[in-house]
Symmetry: C2
Subunit: 414 residues, 2 copies
């Protein structure tokens, strides 16, 4: 009899009816002979409502008090879910973060878990209870309520699973798993049976934030297998683990993409040691998230730097750069909007150096111009015109043979 940790997000527990449905999913696992620990988020829009109440009072509320406020959301869910399980005749007990021994840094709104004292949870499991734990929250060494920031409930689930040496950690969500690409755009997109932690990290923007990168990192560090699966459908999901068994011959595992990309080029910068850190430090200080960065030196003492930003951030980006023109000493700023990023992801790339070239050939065959390129060990990203995005994704999905599970074992070059 093993321990299984199940995590249900805010949508899955958004109403009393959904909470009762979740209770049934839990009971299924209990009846299969498992000890179950459940981690839940706040119900549906609860967090937004609480944030709204605070916003009515202050435009910059204290982070400590926001943690105090927001942590009530999960506490409501754990109580209601335990009530639902008890109503169905299953012994259950709820624990807040501090009761479950989730110890964190003394940092509000974005604390990291430092340790988990599992004694209380373990004792309840030994008493044959289903243990329902509030996600997203913990307690600092000096007894302050803290929260874990974005993706916090996923992190709670994985950390608890690691501390309890659970068999696996199931992340229940509103999609049925991780797909080779977004099925809303590419009809032949296929659900992966398994994927490695690193591939999952690179595919993070596929499937609308199905799993927070921090939780994936945590799982990777503790080698805790995760399964992303649907809280509505009863089919198997996608298993995330170190060694991907079923599909390991597949060099490219998925195609990620996003639109609304703009390329900004800062021309005529001094070619000094501090140039890169000054320019991106300045942007980061203003909260502007930069993605691909390319530097091209065109003279002894001058350099151009191009980078991609979300189109929404363009105006701020230019504003920040212009207002720091004296510091940065550039000649001019150029920009090109209407772009998209298309990436191929797969850990098999490490030992297949030709994959990037294959990708470029596929795009060239489709007469799609590549505006920017960026590569990592397991990912090649290109920036193309937004109007070509879906065409590029479809072509790559076909060329790397992602549509058909039957072809998984054969590596086909484009």
């Amino acid at each position: 009899m093993g321990i299984i940790v199940q995590k249900f997000g805010g949508t899955s527990v958004g109403s009393p009816e959904r909470i009762i449905h979740v209770a049934n999913r839990i009971i299924q696992e209990v009846n299969a002979g498992n000890q179950v620990v459940v981690v839940v988020s706040a119900m549906g829009k609860t967090t937004d409502q609480l944030v709204g109440l605070a916003a009515d009072i202050s435009s910059s509320p204290s982070k400590r008090e926001m943690d105090m406020l927001l942590s009530t959301g999960e506490q409501v869910t754990i109580a209601l879910l335990s009530i639902a399980l008890l109503e169905k005749g299953y012994d259950a007990i709820s624990y807040t973060g501090w009761q479950a021994g989730i110890q964190t840094e003394s940092l509000h709104s974005n604390a990291r878990i430092t340790d988990i004292d599992i004694s209380r949870v373990k004792q309840s499991l030994d008493e044959q209870k289903i243990v329902v734990v509030a996600g997203f929250q913990g307690v600092s060494a000096n007894g302050e309520i803290t929260t874990l920031g974005r993706g916090g409930s996923d992190t709670t689930a994985v950390a608890l699973a690691a501390a309890l040496k659970a068999e696996k950690c199931d992340i229940y969500t509103d999609v049925t798993g991780v797909f080779t690409t977004d099925p809303r755009y590419v009809t032949s997109a296929r659900k992966l049976q398994s994927i490695s932690y690193d591939e999952m990290l690179e595919l993070a923007n596929l499937g609308a934030g199905v799993l927070h990168p921090r939780a994936v990192e945590f799982a990777k560090n503790y080698e805790m297998p995760l399964e992303v699966r649907s809280s509505i459908e009863y089919e198997n999901g996608t298993i995330i683990e170190e060694e991907v068994s079923m599909e390991k011959n597949l060099v490219v595992r998925g195609i990620a993409f996003e639109d609304q990309v703009t390329r900004v080029t800062v021309c005529g910068l001094p070619n000094g040691l501090q140039t890169l850190s000054t320019i991106f430090g300045t942007l980061a200080k203003h909260g502007i998230n930069v993605d691909i960065i390319i530097q091209s030196t065109y003279a002894h003492d001058k350099t151009n730097i191009s980078f991609s930003v979300k189109t929404d951030d363009l105006r701020d980006t230019i504003g920040v750069l212009e207002s720091n023109k004296e510091l940065l000493r550039f000649d001019e700023i150029q920009h090109e909007g209407g772009l998209a990023k298309v990436s191929i992801v797969g850990s098999g790339m490490v030992s297949n150096p030709g994959v990037a070239a294959d990708m470029f050939q596929v795009l060239a065959n489709e007469e799609i111009q590549v505006k920017m390129v960026s590569t990592s060990e397991i990912k090649v990203s290109t920036v193309v015109e937004q109007q070509n995005m879906v065409k590029a994704v479809e072509a790559l999905h076909n060329a790397f043979n992602l549509s058909s599970i039957a072809q998984e074992k054969t590596q086909v070059r484009a």
Copy 2:
């Protein structure tokens, strides 16, 4: 510089606007040079909403999980009120029950406070912070969240005041104080400047539950002065303390009354030692609250027992008695509805044995028939026809000279 504990109920903190108003009331006390600890309830209808969610899932939810659920209500308020105080530039910090060291019995939904570890609250006061504490909740010795039951926030406030050796405990509410009688019925009703703990206990049903009896008992035991005052109006309220200074010559301090009373008489009971305990034990077991009890023995072996109940409970009362007829062995049940209870209250009565007679004379002068009588050290209650209730209250209010503060020092007989 003294410590003052302020308690604000659910209506006073029912919206962000009201919370901001409460912050101003607190700041007033801080600017007067006091260290302030604030105890708050859940916002307005929050508790009802949470109870409703649980009711959608279970008709008999676990008491432990209900405590887990309901304790979030005050936690939301403490966070928002602290945010409001910080926004106004005053240093504030919120504490849940467990953080504030409110230790209780290991009993859910109606736990008693066993001890308060004030170290954390005291340290924050020493750091010149306004301390905002969640009322109604505590933590048991084994780390379970508990709640204190009805009137719990009042009790938290008084207990904290006692533990902190506060100067006084101010209970802010939606009335301006404790009145000689209900001003909605008697226009000459007057707010009392002060009243003793015992008188307050006897007058508990005046002013629509302005202060929970348990909190008054607690204050009496620790000799903690309370002030009941308005969270809206800026006038002085009513001080509740052991020695009532200003109005101590007044034998009768207030007139309490309630309508919807029914008298039930159980006729022909066996006149045995167990009769009283059997009959009222049976009713209590079925949750029926009995008020005045009168026994009249009319033969060697037979007795009649009359008691008053709320008219709403009449049907249940008769049902319970009839279904236990074999056990109780009575002849028949009679009942009379349309009655009301009118009481005079005042600690001066102890040394004034003629007060009850005075009361009966006042009622007789008004041609009001008395149906039942019950007396205590500081209270005489009569049951009269409901249609005579207000007339009785007005006559008694005049006769015992409660309308005019100028006449307070002179005791006038009816």
